[in-house]
Symmetry: C2
Subunit: 327 residues, 2 copies
Amino acid sequence: MDKIRWGILGTGTIAHKFASDLKRVENAELTAAGSRSLQSAEAFCREFDIPLSFGSYEELAAHNEIDIVYIATPNHLHHPNTLLCLNHGKAVLCEKPFALNARQASEMITLARRKNIFLMDALWTKFLPHYQKMLEMVRSGKLGAIKMVRANFGFQANAEPDSRLLNPEMGGGSLMDIGIYNVFTALDILGEPDEISVSINATEQGIDEQCAVVFKYNSGAMASLFSSISANVETEVEICGTLGRLKLTAPFYDSASVLEHEADGKKNFIMTEKEEGLGYQYEARHATGCLLEGSAETMVVPHDYSILLMKTLDKIRDLAGIVFPDM
Amino acid sequence: MDKIRWGILGTGTIAHKFASDLKRVENAELTAAGSRSLQSAEAFCREFDIPLSFGSYEELAAHNEIDIVYIATPNHLHHPNTLLCLNHGKAVLCEKPFALNARQASEMITLARRKNIFLMDALWTKFLPHYQKMLEMVRSGKLGAIKMVRANFGFQANAEPDSRLLNPEMGGGSLMDIGIYNVFTALDILGEPDEISVSINATEQGIDEQCAVVFKYNSGAMASLFSSISANVETEVEICGTLGRLKLTAPFYDSASVLEHEADGKKNFIMTEKEEGLGYQYEARHATGCLLEGSAETMVVPHDYSILLMKTLDKIRDLAGIVFPDM
């Protein structure tokens, strides 16, 4: 292979963003798009000049001119859609949250491993240059011992009552939609917490409109994480170590975010490479590279990490009393 | 009375700050200072050109040329020192925390009311112009319905093991020292919480080196509060409403803090009066005014509010398992 042929399952907002950024990836071709409605798939294919459109997920998964499928469907479909593609021998990049729970994630990973097929959790912001630079600074010890991580992610969704965002059957709530970024950022910096405490504001449907999570570590470190789909909170990450403080400026998930470093009373901005696009090209480029190399797993988001993240989210929801049906 | 004669009990850091700012207050005279050590009192009096120095708290409390005493002793002495001064007929401005618990606070207030003497909880930042402007904006509805309040206050104390900051017998810990600012700010904006959850990192002595508090309201609002004496976290307040966001820039307790307002994608800074000094002159001026008017209670920090604040702190410590001996 010298070109990786991509298919996209789903034609919503995230599919649009990904398709737009995939144009920036060398050795990648956007070959197909599939939706439950042929009309949607055709409209999407016209918009992005994609040759193959399919009116069912099965047809796309089965087609022999596709190497990897990006799963861009709603949260509750990530698990069945991933299994479908893997069963048809397709590599998979699955949008976050990887699944609705750790059991589903394990099933997906077990199947990928058994078939030796590439499978990756689409934690796209992990591939952003400023995020990687942040991790490098934390791991180098430049900030000293990390004592506190704060991450807030919020927006005012004004969602209709039947929106996927509010629907427990579709894996709704602030935690699964955006709180997940806070959670994996804290995991990346401080590792698995020794204790978790959670407080949410539940909607009538029983999902979290706002979710406050505190991670506690035997080391003396803590993380304070807040997500909201009812408030436009400043979406920042702050990391406090004994030798200094680092901030991922708002919005921290954006490739335009900048690192603000403060130590000894001096503040300075650390610039990292800024490329045009929405930022999804970094993960797409990485996945394309993995396929070209014949790798079945990436060490940037290893399978065990995806399981840890899902287990942590399961525990948070359990503490909060958020129940997704049929789990 | 046309001049109010002040005495200061205690000669530590906060006493220095207050004495320095009291020079900026019209109709106030710094008349006396008292310490357990006459030497300390004399040194303090020389520094601030104060006529009367006393080597015991009792002597200062009993002296007939003093109208009001500012209690600047460590936390565990606020209650006995306040009772001492009130029993000698002196008005009292008592440094925060007002007491170690609500029971002590009630005793102090009951005595002041019975004797009809002015008593005020020294929540000095409430009197800062930018804090008052913030409250005005919240109460006017300009920010819409408030959904989230975030307040962080932290510094790296590097305290010795025998420091008052780490000593439970002296009311140590991050919550009582600085977390109290976060707590009363949330109370001022959102009122008494319907639910509280707390997570702390406890020291060997059993006090909180870091303390994360979440307030939950039946209205759908939440507050996320974090205090630390082991991490230099950015000391900001953020208030998110349905119509906009307001930030008290770091450090939010400082009279130099500025309000940053964001709505409809536009950010602007709201300037308030900035006067020289450390910011303690505002509360000192207010207390002086109350005495000149013959008032026994201020409506900016009413007695019932001090009780509510102490009860809230009691509940947080109870949930966290922080125990002060002999309570």
